[in-house]
């Protein structure tokens, strides 16, 4: 099972692909709307990109509830455990 640091890196790379923000400048606690200034479409794009990378499908409720990098990491960890179990 992937370690948390690798998950974070992958997620930040997704964010970077979608937003152009360099991955290394994105803090672990960054909020999408407040800190990164992203709109709803960008946030959804990041979420789908992350899902595609880790090959899981989040529910609509899960997708609309992630607001920070940390919450996204938690979602991925939860789902990866669930897939493995």
């Amino acid at each position: 099972m992937m370690d948390t640091q690798s998950i974070k890196t992958t997620i930040k790379q997704s964010i970077s692909r979608v937003t152009g923000i360099p991955a290394e400048t994105i803090s672990d606690s960054a909020s999408y709307e407040g800190d990164l200034g992203l709109d709803s479409l960008s946030i959804l794009e990041i979420a789908v990109d992350v899902e595609n990378h880790f090959k899981f499908q989040a529910s609509d409720e899960e997708l609309t509830s992630i607001r920070t990098v940390e919450e996204t990491v938690d979602l991925v960890r939860r789902r990866l455990c669930a897939e493995v179990a």
């Binding site: 152009g20 923000i21 479409l41 794009e45 789908v48 990109d49 899902e51 595609n52």
Partner: protein, 401 residues
């Protein structure tokens, strides 16, 4: 005016290249095109949107969006519409396009087919609607007026100019950024080749009116004109470049059948002259739609003869698609931009590569080389292979007195 084209990103650069007879055609070296026969096109190989839009993330824009947002930036700067002026007035946007972005539509669909629909890209989906580029450009530049998209095939851009002119005349808007764009992409290139409309390689020639023409060369561009109500433009101290006098937009329901000799463009030009209150004798030059298509070029030549009743050999004709290729939704707009530059510089571009005019066509005053012409009023033609025809009449700026 703002333009992004393979021959330059300003009206002056574009016009200068056309007057020099430079061609935009070059080999298609992008990956993924190997299966196609036609290997040359007028695409913009060195387009760097970040050079025009350095301050923001470009990911939300696809290529068509990038072309239009960049052309809009140039046109707004060029016409003196600063950010605070845009905040104070609702400026409209009317964009003509044939495909929007068929590449984005296809990419979105294919990604969903291969990866599964739950991994479809939301950002790409937003760009699958044909009015996406117009929407993106409005967001980017804060254009809150009437926002519309026109899709009439390769006449789209010219029709968009006419539509926008009417919006101003009927009092719906005092300022509208209007024009057209189509990106070069595999999907449309493949489609045109399969349809046998491209000129092909070897002996084929994408040269308008040429004795051995075999079809057109596909190009790529975005062009926008800032159209304004005359009084509003004068009162804000705008630099007025030209006047759109009138237009006509028609259709030929029998376009599949040969032998109509340009009936639709004849009627479009007649409608344009009525709309403009201008007579044919006042037209000093024609920017032809001709692009190397066997039938359409012929139709246009006969249409000009019909319209000028035998005096067609007195009106100089150019065909810039001989150099810039068929830019679809942008085509009529590039023609309009170049005509306005011709009015300014007194130089009309020649038709590059026309060493042998087709002998069965009526005698026309074809400009084979750059020529000095005094143009007070000019005609722009746009004819689509599906039956659409549009004619636009442009004059020098009216006297301030």
């Amino acid at each position: 005016m703002g333009v992004i084209s393979s021959l330059g990103d300003s009206p002056a650069l574009l016009h200068s290249a056309l007057c020099q007879g430079r061609t935009a055609l070059h080999p298609v070296e992008e990956p993924g095109f190997d299966d196609l026969n036609c290997r040359q096109a007028g695409h913009i190989s060195a387009f760097h949107p970040e050079a025009y839009l350095p301050e923001k993330n470009l990911r939300p824009l696809d290529r068509t969006g990038q072309l239009v947002v960049c052309a809009a930036k140039l046109a707004l700067a060029n016409s003196g519409w600063t950010a605070d002026k845009l905040a104070a007035r609702d400026v409209g946007l009317v964009l003509g396009t044939m495909f929007g972005s068929v590449h984005t539509i296809s990419k979105f669909d294919r990604h969903a087919l291969v990866q599964g629909p739950s991994y479809a890209s939301p950002m790409d989906f937003a760009n699958t609607v044909i009015n996406a580029a117009a929407g993106q450009t409005a967001i980017w530049h804060k254009l809150r007026g009437i926002n519309s998209t026109i899709a009439c095939g390769s006449t789209s851009g010219l029709v968009a100019l006419g539509y926008a002119t009417d919006l101003i005349r009927y009092g719906h808007q005092t300022a509208v950024l209007a024009g057209g764009a189509d990106e070069f992409c595999f999907e449309s290139f493949c489609g045109f080749e399969r349809a046998g409309l491209l000129y092909g390689n070897g002996e084929g020639r994408p040269v308008p009116f040429h004795h051995r023409r075999t079809g057109f060369a596909l190009g790529e561009a975005a062009g926008l004109l800032m159209l304004e109500d005359w009084e509003a433009a004068v009162s804000r101290g705008a630099n007025i470049l030209a006047e759109i006098r009138g237009y006509g937009s028609t259709y030929n329901p029998a376009s599949d059948q040969a032998g109509n000799e340009g009936d639709a463009i004849v009627r479009a030009v007649q409608a344009a002259t009525e709309d403009a209150v201008l007579s044919l004798v006042e037209i000093d030059c024609i920017s032809a739609s001709a692009n190397g298509s066997v039938n359409l070029d012929r139709d246009e030549a006969f249409a000009v003869k019909t319209l000028w009743n035998g005096y067609s050999s007195l009106v100089p004709i150019t065909a810039i698609k001989s150099m810039v290729g068929e830019t679809l939704g942008a085509s009529g707009v590039l023609q309009a931009i170049d005509l306005i530059e011709t009015m300014r510089t007194g130089q009309l571009p020649g038709i590059a590569g026309l060493d042998q005019f087709e002998p069965t066509l009526p005698s026309l005053d074809i400009c084979r080389h750059e020529r000095s012409v005094r143009v007070r009023s000019g005609l722009v033609n746009s004819i689509g292979f599906d039956g659409h025809a549009c004619a636009l009449l442009i004059s020098e700026p009216p006297d301030l007195n």
